[in-house]
Symmetry: C2
Subunit: 594 residues, 2 copies
C-alpha cells in the first residue's frame, strides 16, 4: 500500500511519485494551502495539498490529528527558506495528488507532544497511543535490535536456543511464585518460572553443551524499585567450561553489543572481589564512575569514649567507615540534614561528619559535632588515613556492617551525582569471589546467589561453610547488576552439603529437587552460565528512566495492566473447573467494588 | 576444557594432540586394549587406551556407560580394516594419554540405544537422559536453527521482535484459559495468552508497522491429538498490507526455510478456496500428496428409494459424496470392515461401497451391497461421474455434510497411505476464501477463525452474515495446518457488526474488548498477519512422529511433567495469600492420594 516509508524519502527522490501511509502528526493551514506532517515508523514527511487538486484538498481539509491516511504525490524540493534542518526529510516535501482516509481518529486521549503532562496512568491506559511517540517507538526498535544482536552473537558461538517450560514446578529462587491451578489434577498447581535455572542445568546434563534463551521470568513480589511481575532474561549456560570461559565470552558479547549498537568502546572489565567491593564501595554492584570510597577506621576508634563509634568498632558484625568528600566542606547544614535523612532510609541512625577547614591548625581547623567525643588522636589519625585535605568533608557510618555498607554505599552514589563527580559515561566491572552464604541475625545461612552455585573448595564448604567462597560472578555496569551467574554444582554429594548448610533436610531436598539430584547421578558434566536482565540492559543503553519505558505493555507498581484491566474477575464455572473457590474476604472485596 | 568437539576431529588432525570432553557412549575391551566411544553434542570419537600408559588405562578401566570424562591423546589413523565408514570420525581414533573422570554415572534408567523398549513414560521421567539420544539432540538443534533462520528472515524484512505480556486478561480464542490468581487484587485473575492476537493488533495501532514474536501460547484443553498445554507460535503482523503482501512474504519465508535448511525446493503454493477444499478433499487442510478426491453425487441420488442416500441428498445440510479408489477392488472384506470402523470415529454410520469388476457387463459387473437399493440408472450415472474403471472401488458417504466431509476426508488420507498412493514428499497450499462464520445446529454463528477477522465485503457481512467470506488464509502442508491468519478489522463499526453476528451484545463487547474498541477509535491502520505453529513446523521438517519429540520438556496427554512432577501441591499459606481455597472435592482427592 506504500512505495516508501515517510522517513525514507529524501532529495534522491525528487520528481518521483511516491505513495506514503501513516498518521497525521500535525496539520497546518497556511496561505490557502494545507500542510500535513505524515508520520510512520521511520519518520515524518511533510505533504502539501493545494486547491488545484480539489478532491484531495477537500479530503485533506477533513483530516484531523492521528487520522490514518494514504497519500500519493510528487516529491519536490522545499521552497527556499522553508527547509527544516532538524528533520531528516526537511529538505523536501511531497506535493499531494491523492489522499485516502484509511481510518479516522477521535481526539487522542493526550497530545503526543505533551505526554509528560498526561501522567503515566493515562499513557498506560492508552498505551497504543503512547507507543506512537517517536521516543517510545525508537526504544522498542532498539530493544528488538539488541535481542537480535545477542541472538546472532550466541548463535555464532555455537549456543542453541532452547525453550523451557512456562508451566512448571515451584522452584526456590527465593521470591514468591505465580501459581496456576490445574484443571486435570484437582488441588495441584503449576508455578510460572522465576528463571529457567534448573531446566538449563538439566539441558547441560542432556549434553546440549551450549544453551541460550531469551526467557520470560515471573516473580510475584511487591513492586518497589522499578520491577515488573514478568521480566525478560537473556539466559546462557555451557558445559565443560570454567568461570573464565563464561566471563570472557559474556564480556566480549556485551562489549561488541555496545560497540556495534551504540558506538561505545567499553574498557576491559576490571574484576573486583566481593569483599573489596563492599569494603571500598559498600555495595556488590558499585558504580565505578564515582570517585568516592569508603575507608575502614575501626582500628582507630576501638578505644575512644564515643560509644557510637567504639561499639560497632568492637563488634565482629559492626563496621565503622569514613567517606571523604573532596570539597565537601561547602555543604550547608541543610544539605547535611537531607543526607542524614537519606541514610536513614537504609537504617542509619545518624550521619556523623567532620569538615576540614585548615589542616595546619590541627584539631582547631576542624568543624564537627563529634570531634570532642572522638578526641584529637583518633580524629587526626582518621584524617591522615582518609588523606583529607583542606576543604574536604568526611562522613561516617558506624553500625552493623550491613547498615553501614548500604547507607554509605547509597550516600556515595547520591553525592557523586549531586556534586557532579560522575566520571565518564560507562563503568563496567565483574564482581567475583562471592561468599557461598550470608548469615542472618539468627546465624542461619542463606544462599547469596542460589543453592546450585558451586563452591571454590569442597573442603572449605564442609569445614567452614560461612566462610566458603563460591564460583559466582556478577556483571555490573554503572551501579546496576546487568547479569549474574556461576559455575554450578555438578555432583550430588556437594549439592547435598549445600542443601544441608541451608538447613534443607534430606527429605525436603528429595521432595523439592529430587529430579535435579537424580540428574546429577546420571552423568552431569561440569557446567556454568549467566543470566542478564534484558529490560535493565536496554534501559541503560537507551537512557530510559524506568524499565516501564522499554517494555511495550508494562504493569503498574500495583501489578495491573491499565489498558486491558488485567487481572479481572472470572466466572464461578471456571473456578469450579479449577477446583478452587474464592475466600470469603476476596468475595466481599468484590462485592464492595460492584 | 576441550580443544575439539568429538564429532569435529578427522583425518586433518592426524598426529595432533587433542583434548575431548563427553560421555562414554560405549566401552569395549578387546585384545587387552580398552576402546571408549566418547560422545558429545557434535558426534562420537573412538578413544583407545592401552596398558603402556598404566595410569590412564586404569582410569579407563573404571569408567562405565555415561560417565563424563575428559581425555587427552594423539589422533591417529585407524589400523587398516578397522575403519568405520558409517561414522563421521570412522577413519581415525585417538590414542588416549590422559583420562580424567569428571563425573560418574549410575546405570542409566534405560540404554540410549534401546529407548524404544523403555516406553515414553520412563523417557519423559528422565528426559535429561532421553535428550542425549543423537536423534533427539539433532531435533532440538534443528529447532534452534529454524527459529534463528526465521528471526533473521523477519529481521531482514524490517519486522521488529516485540514481547507481549504473559500475565494478561482472558481473551476469547475459544479454548479454555489458564488462570493465575492475583495476590494484590483479591478475587481477580490473570489469564495466560492463548495467542498474542489482541496485543499484536494494538502494536499495529501503535504504529510498530511490522511485528513478529516467537511466542509461548497456552490452552487448557484436553490433549487429544498431539497437543500441548503450552506451545510456540511464530507470530507476525504488519500494517498497510493486503492479504497478497502477507501471503507472499510468508510463502517466501517458508520456501527459503525449506530450501536453505533441508535443501528442498517447494513448489509455488497453489491457492485453494475453502469451498473447493471441502468439496474435493472433505477438509480445509487437505493433504495434496494423495490423488484421491471426493465427488458429489447428490443430484444423482435424490430420487432413489435408498433413504440412506436420498435423505441427505435432499437435505440442505446433507451431503452424498463418492470416493473412487483406483485398484480398490482388491480390498478384502476385512479391510473394508476396518475402514467402516475407522469412519465411525468421525460419526459415519456406515461405509457403502461398490466394486467395479467389469464395466462392460453393466450392473452385472458390479459387486456391492447397495446397488440393489440404488437401482441401475443411479448406479451407472455415479460410475460415469467418478470415471470408475475396472478394478476400482468407490466408497460413499451420505450424512450431514460435516460428517461426510470429516469421514471421507480422513478415509482419503488413510487410504492414500495404506495403498502407497502418496505422491511426492511435500505438498503445500494456501486455503483461502473462508466463510466468516460457521453455523451450529441451533443456527448460531461462530467465528471460523476469530472475531477480529475482516470480511471481504462489509455489505455482505451486514446483509447475509452466514454467507459472508472473510479475508483469512491458512497455510497447509501435507494435510497439516502450518499457520493461519487474516486481514483484521480496523474499524469499530465493522467490529461491532461481527460481535453482533456472534451474539455478543454491546455491553459484553465493551466489557471484554473495550480496550480494542477504544484502540480502533484512535487511528487504527489497516493491518493483518499470520501465526505459525512452530512445534508442528519443526515436527514436519524433522519427520518426528509427535510434537513431544521436538519439545525439550513436554507434558503428557494428562498435562503433567513426569520429570519435575508438575503440577504439585502448594501450602495453605500460599493459597491464603492468593485469596483462594481448594474445593472440598479437591482436598479429598489429595487425602486419597496421601
Amino acid at each position: 500500500m506504500r512505495s516508501h516509508y515517510c522517513g525514507g524519502i529524501n532529495e534522491s527522490h525528487i520528481d518521483e511519485t511516491v505513495t506514503l501511509c501513516g498518521w497525521v502528526h500535525r496539520r497546518r493551514d497556511h496561505g490557502g494551502v494545507i500542510f500535513l506532517d505524515l508520520r510512520d515508523r521511520d519518520g515524518i514527511a511533510q505533504v502539501v495539498f493545494d486547491p488545484d487538486t480539489p478532491d484531495s484538498f477537500a479530503q485533506a481539509d477533513r483530516v484531523r490529528n492521528e487520522y490514518v491516511i494514504q497519500i500519493t504525490g510528487r516529491v519536490r524540493r522545499r521552497p527556499e527558506g522553508t527547509e527544516n534542518d532538524h528533520m531528516a526529510t526537511g529538505q523536501i516535501e511531497v506535493l499531494g495528488k491523492e489522499l485516502t482516509i484509511l481510518n479516522e481518529s477521535a481526539t487522542p486521549p493526550f497530545p503526543l507532544d505533551e505526554y509528560t503532562e498526561a501522567g503515566e496512568d493515562v499513557r498506560l491506559r492508552h498505551r497504543y497511543v503512547d507507543l506512537r511517540r517517536p521516543e517510545m517507538a525508537q526504544r522498542l526498535r532498539f530493544r528488538s535490535r539488541v535481542t537480535s544482536y545477542l541472538r546472532n552473537f550466541l548463535d555464532g558461538e555455537g549456543f542453541m536456543d532452547v525453550e523451557t517450560p512456562v508451566l512448571t514446578r515451584a522452584t526456590p529462587e527465593g521470591a514468591r511464585d505465580y501459581l496456576v491451578p490445574s484443571r486435570t489434577h484437582a488441588g495441584s498447581f503449576f508455578a510460572l518460572p522465576q528463571s529457567p535455572q534448573l531446566f538449563k542445568q538439566l539441558l547441560m546434563v542432556s549434553g546440549i553443551d551450549r544453551y541460550y534463551q531469551i526467557a520470560k521470568c515471573f516473580r510475584d513480589e511487591d513492586l518497589r524499585a522499578d520491577r515488573q511481575p514478568e521480566f525478560t532474561q537473556v539466559d546462557v549456560e555451557a558445559s565443560f567450561v570454567t568461570e573464565e570461559d563464561i566471563m570472557n565470552a559474556m564480556e566480549r558479547m556485551v562489549r561488541n553489543l555496545f560497540s556495534d549498537l551504540l558506538g561505545v568502546n567499553l574498557p576491559e572489565f576490571p574484576r573486583l572481589p566481593y569483599a573489596e567491593a563492599i569494603r571500598r564501595f559498600g555495595s556488590d554492584k558499585p558504580d565505578l564512575r564515582i570517585p568516592l570510597e569508603l575507608v575502614d577506621v575501626e582500628d582507630l576508634v576501638q578505644n575512644v569514649d564515643f560509644k557510637v563509634f567504639s561499639g560497632p568498632a568492637k563488634d565482629r558484625k559492626g563496621r565503622v567507615a569514613a567517606l571523604r568528600v573532596p570539597g565537601g566542606s561547602e555543604l550547608t547544614r541543610k544539605q547535611i540534614d537531607d543526607y542524614t535523612e537519606f541514610v536513614g532510609i537504609y537504617g542509619a541512625k545518624g550521619l556523623a561528619y567532620i569538615k576540614l577547614n585548615d589542616r595546619s591548625a590541627g584539631i582547631e581547623g576542624l568543624q564537627s559535632p563529634i570531634v570532642k567525643f572522638l578526641g584529637e588522636e583518633a580524629t587526626m589519625a582518621i584524617m591522615d588515613r582518609v588523606e583529607a585535605a583542606d576543604g574536604d568533608l568526611v562522613f561516617f557510618g558506624a553500625d552493623k556492617a550491613s547498615v553501614v555498607d548500604e547507607a554509605l554505599g547509597a550516600l556515595r552514589v547520591r553525592l557523586g551525582h549531586d556534586l557532579g563527580m560522575v566520571e565518564g559515561e560507562w563503568a563496567p566491572c565483574w564482581v567475583v569471589d562471592f561468599p557461598m552464604f550470608e548469615e542472618d541475625d539468627d546465624g542461619k545461612l542463606h544462599a547469596l546467589h542460589h543453592p546450585f552455585t558451586a563452591p571454590v573448595s569442597a573442603e572449605e564448604l564442609q569445614n567452614n561453610p560461612a566462610g566458603a567462597l563460591s564460583r559466582a560472578y556478577d556483571m555490573v555496569l554503572n551501579g546496576t547488576e546487568l547479569g549474574g551467574g556461576s559455575i554450578r554444582i555438578h555432583d550430588e554429594a556437594t549439592q547435598n552439603v549445600v542443601f544441608n548448610s541451608l538447613g534443607i533436610g534430606k527429605e525436603e531436598a528429595r521432595e523439592k529437587f529430587g529430579f535435579l539430584l537424580d540428574a546429577l547421578r546420571f552423568g552431569a558434566p561440569p557446567h556454568g552460565g549467566l543470566a542478564f536482565g534484558l529490560d535493565r540492559l536496554v534501559m541503560l543503553m537507551t537512557g530510559a528512566g524506568s524499565i516501564r519505558d522499554v517494555i511495550p505493555f508494562p504493569k503498574t507498581q500495583n501489578a495491573t495492566c491499565l489498558m486491558t484491566d488485567a487481572p479481572g474477575e472470572v466466572d464461578e464455572k471456571q473456578l469450579r473447573e479449577l477446583h478452587i473457590r474464592l475466600r470469603r474476604s476476596a468475595k466481599s472485596d468484590q462485592d464492595d467494588s460492584n
